[in-house]
Amino acid sequence: MMEEDDFDPEQIKRFMFVNRKAPYGTVYALESLETVLISAAFDQDVSVVFIDDGVFQLKKGQDTKGINMKNFSPTFRALEGYDVEKLYVEKESLEARGLSENDLVVDVEILSTEELSKIMAAQDVVISN
């Protein structure tokens, strides 16, 4: 963890984007993804976390024609091309919703609550919505 006194503008910070909300019912999931894409240009240590209903953002098979919105779930697959490769999903959140890794549109790292808790505690900047 960075100390106040020796802040170095060249130093890379750990940015974590926390997604706890389902897609489409609200716009937070989509607009958070837009922020993640922008953050990629800043050469920081970026991770994106999906917990609680946020895991539903990654569900395969979304078809939004009937609600007249844009299906943005394919964009998660584009993150790798932006060098955003740390996608974390909490195992407990996934299982509580009857989902498994095979149900997700993109490869993610599935973590226990304790593992995720440690990673969250090590962040410099946490952006939630």
Binding site: K21, A22, P23, Y24, G25, T26, D52, D53, F56, K59, K60, G61, Q62, D63, T64, K65, G66, I67, M69, N71, S73, A96, R97, G98
Partner: protein, 101 residues
């Protein structure tokens, strides 16, 4: 009375309150993020099943599809409403309307 529930049962207490207070014989339509409540096997599924005898349950098809749940197993007895026209029909058939927000 037609009730709508538009929140995920794992995020908020909306479905729970609706199930507690909806009178026998009324209908509940799950819309928007409320359709997550229709998924079989969850905590919410048990609560819905517990009132399946005296309430009628529906889930809005376009909202299920948007969330990738068209093929997902739903709680037994929940009827999928194909489109917004079906929502309108339900609203017309029932004498009044209450949104649980």
């Amino acid at each position: 009375m037609l009730h709508t529930v538009n929140k995920s049962p794992s995020e908020r207490n909306v479905l729970e309150s609706c199930l507690r207070l909806a009178a026998k014989g009324s209908a509940i339509l799950l819309i928007e993020d409320g359709v997550y409540g229709a998924l079989a096997g969850s905590q919410a599924a048990k609560k819905i099943a517990g009132r399946m005898g005296d309430l009628k349950f529906y889930a809005l098809g376009p909202d299920l599809a948007a969330r990738g749940l068209s093929e997902a197993p739903l709680v037994d007895g929940i009827e999928v409403v194909a489109d917004y026209g079906g929502f309108v029909d339900l609203a017309a058939e029932h004498e009044a309307f209450q949104a649980w927000l």
